[in-house]
Amino acid sequence: MNGKNMHWAHRLAALGLLVGLTAGFAVVGAAQSVAGQAYSTYVNTPLGSSGQSPLAVLPAVSGTDGAEADAAGDALSVAGVLSSDFLNSITSGEIGTGETGAQSTASAASVNILNGLITADEVVANVMSSAAQDGASSNADGSTFTNLVVAGTPVTSGDGPVGPNTNISLPGVGYVVLNEQIPSGDGVATSGLTVNMIHVYLQSLVGGVVDPLTGRTVGGTLQTTGEVIVGSASSTVTR
């Protein structure tokens, strides 16, 4: 390759790099997005059901825009399954030149699940996701339980957090996951987090046979037959 060809080769390479970078930035810019939602309660059991309520969903956000959505309810009752009051859900999100973020909060007070099996004076789910040039991250800071009692055992005294994904067995009923955290994203360009503060999984033994000598069921498999969620908040960012 002579000098002239190398000169043009360098120019073409530089042009290609420029086009590539421009296209890359355009793609990155176009890909920026935020999402969020929050709800206080969800019930899906054989005894009764109630959809995600009150549900707040972040409207579409574009450009360097932002939005907020909220919903509230005075009280909710599904007989024998869940009662609660002062239900509030909020979500907001924004796209900025420096930072893009979404944050959601859901709360419920006077929580009573399965006729007192689980009670709490209040539950607050709080999540946020944020992305900037140095990466993307999410956290659930500010998510707490007030005077939570599970199967007669106090879990929190006053207002306090519980470790993520704390699993407690509920014999004859199933189990509950406290501060259930479901992360998403690569931590570089995307990040998201869903927190379900109380997630009860109702389980039943399906199949198996009754041992005539002991009266116990032998074999079979545990299957989830219902669920109750109190305090759910989600946020997601993509940069």
Partner: protein, 225 residues
């Protein structure tokens, strides 16, 4: 007691306080000697200002005493409003503009604040430059905070504050909201942002002032620049 009374009965008497804050807002922000360490592009100003955020505060814990008097804001409780303590969750989005007289106003916005110990909820809704619940303009101010870490916005200046709906349909009362973005342009990774809420309590019976308080969780972002 002055602002408490103003919030409840005579908001127009707060003209002097408005003037002080408005002057603060009109100061060229580029002349601020102490440049915020969290710097991203030009400083925010009123026109085209966009602020969004949400999360939780737990006053009186995490009190942001240094930044509270920024922009001419009164120290907490100094105006007669009692402490508003305990869990407060919130979410908001406000877009700023200037009116025909060059004053900073909220063009559109939504603010939701819940004070959990009292089970009180407030909602402010602003469209086309006026509060949905009293049809009055909502004045705002943007200013750098005293710590030099970022900027704050106050929504509902004392000229008329702003009117919030209480617990869905219980009534309406005067309120004021403040938010500070103290990690501007950077990913939220610390609890440096702050929020303050003041309510007259005439409809809710929950009068109070949270004081400017660092977030327990959440984020506040100025994203208009």
């Amino acid at each position: 007691m002055r602002t408490y009374l103003m919030l409840r009965f005579v908001p127009s008497l707060a003209a002097a306080a408005l003037l002080a804050t408005a002057c603060q807002d009109s100061r060229p922000l580029t002349s601020v000697a102490r440049k915020p360490s969290f710097w991203a592009g030009p400083p925010p100003n009123c026109p085209a200002g966009k602020w969004t955020g949400g999360g939780r505060i737990d006053p009186p814990s995490n009190y942001d005493a240094v930044d509270e008097p920024s922009g001419g804001q009164p120290p907490r409780y100094s105006d007669g409003l009692p402490p508003m303590n305990g869990k407060v969750t919130f979410g908001f989005n406000v877009f700023l503009a200037t009116d025909g007289d060059g004053r900073c106003v909220v063009e559109k916005g939504e603010i939701q604040v819940n004070h959990h110990p009292a089970k009180t909820s407030w909602h402010v809704s602003i469209h086309h430059g006026v509060d949905d619940f009293d049809n009055a303009p909502v004045f705002a101010a943007v200013f750098p905070d005293n710590s030099g870490r970022g900027f704050c916005v106050v929504v509902g200046l004392p000229e008329s504050f702003m009117t919030a709906r209480v617990n869905g349909n219980r009534g309406f009362e005067k309120v004021q909201f403040e938010a500070c973005d103290n990690d501007r342009g950077e990913r939220q990774n610390s609890r440096t942002d702050a929020m303050r809420w003041r309510a007259a309590g005439s409809a809710s019976g929950d009068a109070g002032d949270t004081g400017l308080t660092y977030l327990t969780g959440g984020n506040i972002v100025e994203h208009g620049s």
